[in-house]
Each structure stands twice: as C-alpha cells, then as structure tokens.
Symmetry: C2
Subunit: 309 residues, 2 copies
Amino acid sequence: MILTVTLNTALDITYRVRSLRPHTSHRVTEVTERPGGKGLNVARVLAALGHEVTATGFVGGATGRALQDQLTAFAGVTDALVPVEGGTRRTIAVADDTSGDTTQLNEPGPLVSSAEWSAFQEAYEDLLRSASAVALCGSLPPGVPVGAYAQLIRTARTADVPVLLDTSGEPLQRGVAARPDIVKPNADELAELTGSHEPLLATRDARRRGAHAVVASLGPEGLLAHTPQGHWRATPPHPVRGNPTGAGDSAVAGLLSGLVEHLPWPDRLARAAALSAATVRAPAAGEFDRAAYEDLLARVTVTDEANAA
Amino acid sequence: MILTVTLNTALDITYRVRSLRPHTSHRVTEVTERPGGKGLNVARVLAALGHEVTATGFVGGATGRALQDQLTAFAGVTDALVPVEGGTRRTIAVADDTSGDTTQLNEPGPLVSSAEWSAFQEAYEDLLRSASAVALCGSLPPGVPVGAYAQLIRTARTADVPVLLDTSGEPLQRGVAARPDIVKPNADELAELTGSHEPLLATRDARRRGAHAVVASLGPEGLLAHTPQGHWRATPPHPVRGNPTGAGDSAVAGLLSGLVEHLPWPDRLARAAALSAATVRAPAAGEFDRAAYEDLLARVTVTDEANAA
C-alpha cells in the first residue's frame, strides 16, 4: 500500500452565502464537509486511481470523529490515524454567490504532546513495513518539533521506502536536508527554500540541498522536474480555468502512483500534470474530473529541459 | 424540574480573528464552543440559579454529539434531547479584534421528518409529567410544522403545566392563539405580532390575542409586563454596556424561576431584569455575571404601569 501522512488533518467545511458582508448576519444556504489536510487529499486521489492507500496522522475530538466517519466512507482509504487529546481543526471556506470569491477561516491544529508525537512515530514505523511509498504532506500542528519531517524521512530511508515531501517553510528546509526521494514545492515554497525566483535555477539548487528529485508545481505553467534521470517540463495543452484547491495534492498522487508503478519520469510527470489540471477543472474543490483527466493525459506535453538547465 | 424545549439546537462557535477581510485567508487565533439555541441558554441560567432543569429538543449528527458532550458537562442540566437523522446546525460568530464587531454565519437546521416530530411529541408529553413549568424557545428547524408551538402549548395546558413561549414570526402568531401562560417577545417581535410599535398598546394587544401574560424585553429600557395581576415596568439602575447575546434568554430564566418559586410578579420581573442586565455585562456571550446580578437585583426599579396602560 501507499502511506500518506497528514499530521495536521482538518475537517474542511464549505459554506455558501449570498454575499459576505462583515459585521452582519448570514444565512448559510448550503453546507458541505469533507476530510481535509493535504495528505488526505492525496489519499483520496490515489484511492480513486485504484491504489491501496493507508492514511495516518493525528486526529482528535468531536471534529476528529466526524472526519473519521467520513474517511471510512471512502472506498480504498484505510484509516490509521493516531488519536490525540486535542481537537482536530476545522477550516471554513465561505463561498460568496455574488462575487464568486471565497473567504477562508482556518482554526489552529490541536496541541500535540511529546508522548503523542512518540506514539505517532512508533505507529509510522510499523506502517512503513507494508508501504511501497510514503507521502509527508502539509503543515505541522502545534507541539510537533519543526524537524519532524526530517525524522520521518530518515525513518523511511532506513526502512527503504521511497518518501515524498510536500510542505513549506522551516519544516521543508529541514526536511530537504534529510534527503527525501522527491520534494514537490510550489513556486512560492521553492523560492522560499532557495532564495531564487528563477524556477530552473531553484529546482537545481533544491536538489543540491539534499532532495534526490525536485518537482515544482508552477500553476498554469505545469510541472518542472529536476531528477537524477533528467530534467523535464510537463505542460497541460491549454491554461485550465477553475478552482486550484487541491491541484498540488493531485500532482503528488500522480507522482507517487507513477513511482510505485515504476513508470519512467516523463510518464509520471504527464500523469501528475493531467491530474492536477483535471482537479482545477472539477466543480468541487479538491476532486478531479475523471473524463478531463483521461482527455488531458494524452495531451500533456513533456519536454526535455536538459539543455535549458 | 423545569423543562426547556429547543427544537433547533445549535453548536455555537466563536472565532477570534485579527480583522475579517472578505476574499482573503484568516488564521483563527481562538476557538470557543458551547451548546446553543435559546432554550439551552435558558436551561444553563436556570441550572446556575440552582434549579433542576431538563433540556429537550432535537439533536443529530457529529455536531449534535459534540453539543451533547458539552451539555452533560454542565451541572444540573439533564439531557433529554431526541435524536434526528439530520445534523444539528453550527453557528459561527467571527469576532474581529480590530473593529470589535462580529460577523455571524448560521447554518440551516436539520430537516425533521414527520416520524421524528411525532417521536418528539411523545417524549415531550412524558417529560411534562414531572415538569413544574416549560419554556418553548427559538426558531423551528425545517420540516417541523409552523403550528408546532401551538400544539406543544395545548399539550402543556392539558397537562396543567405553566408554559412560556419565546419565538418570532408565524410560530409566535400561532402560538399566542393557543393561550400560553407567558409570551416574552422583544421589541421587534412584539411589533411584528401586533403591528404596533408602541409597547404599552402592543403588550395589551398581545394579551387580547391569547397570551395570559406578556413580558416584552425592550433592551436597555428593561422589561414591560402586562399580566392579569397588573402592569409593570422593570428597569435596571443605569444603561448596561456589553454584549446583548443571550440577555433575552436570561430574562426567560428569571421569569420561569420566579414562577415556580411562586414569587409575586414584581419580584419575578426584578429578577428577570437583573439577570438580563448581568448577561449583557458578562465578558462571554450568554453567560451572566453573578456578582453583577446580585448587585443589580437590589437596584432594579419596578414601577406600576396600571395608570399608563
């Protein structure tokens, strides 16, 4: 199975309102809820692609129970979340019918104790024994050490399980130094990691910092990969309009599924770019449009960037 | 015991943010949750006053379980909520540190089926057997007939249990016609019920429509009562500044506790006005400041309005 780690899981709630006006009262006309946090999004896409997936991370409180109820309703995602005393966070996206824009309210995560962090590390080590690959995704909840991902990467490497890292800031900085197999920063994260706003130079620099392969997701410009096997750019056939929420998580799912299927890099990148674009095009945030995916997969352009780099 | 009915219970969530700006992302710095809906607020105040209280109404889903977990943590409130298939609603108050103002997002309630409504009516009839008084509070969730309160009032009257009604719109209109012992409208609800913006005339008119006693809560101007025993106005010693959320519910608790203790009307009104003002003054919405309550109780003025009316 593929293992996904989401230390800061969330219940993602979307409210529709007619028009959000601060300091007034609003009737919410529609409420949707789904398990969130980047690793759970990755797990959902992997399951939809037909992979066996186990999701771990922390979960707690009434919101955590609601999240787990909904997670077990998904075919193919095995729940291996580790309980914590604190409550799983909610995120609320207020979608405004009038403007079409969204206002986001993000709760902080639960405070994780050092005993809970130790319990997680043990569970993680056990789960790695039956994992073909692992993805470490998203932010760290309060209380988890900033070097958490670096530790988890070292454990995966010791267990000989390929590991992908998708996070930001200091956890990314430290994680890259622990030599993950793949990092998947977006343009901002890549610039923050390397100090360079020039993606070709920055992806090369990120490899020098320790990552075996770097795949940068550059929004409408697709993916830019710098790997030991070569450098490529994967671009969708035309700019895709829609909701970019979860597009990066779908790219991670594409990269991981290609890795465990031993696809060559250009095919992994085509799959990741097509899934990402099909997610932008889907009506619900973070879902992907399967017909669009199959259509896009044949039409993504993968170009060799060896000379450019 | 005193019975409170909250058909549209809610989990009231308060978020603190630095400044709410539509179409941007916000870190919530503080999250507080408590069981809500007017009848549950009344129950909490009655329990704090030392009364035995049972809370009924509908509850469902993960939010309902969270509400019940928190309700049973309160000393003195017995949970007799009736399960429904749909989910209990959340309300979110976004408190803005910069402006001090609050933005409210209210989910719709669960859709109640006719079988669930029947199950509630049976449970209610059973509970009335050991009730010394009953309060019917707040809005109706979708699916509950608009004449629901009228039915519940008739059941209470048949069981010889004094009944107080605190609602608005059509459910208030129909409820008043079923001859409740007390109705407690605020200024807007009273005007909507009677068509008159003149409280003295409007309270008299509301009695003519069927209510045995009418107690209007007029915000900083205190309470105006029109009863078979006389007409009074109860006024706090000075205008109270603070958060008016729950002030009307505290007034209901004061009226009910005075009723079951067989206090004369002026004493009931003094208690209700003091509790209401002490709620406005408390730092947390819907809580009351006990020291302020005891201080205010001695200083509320109750004047006979018989001549004025």
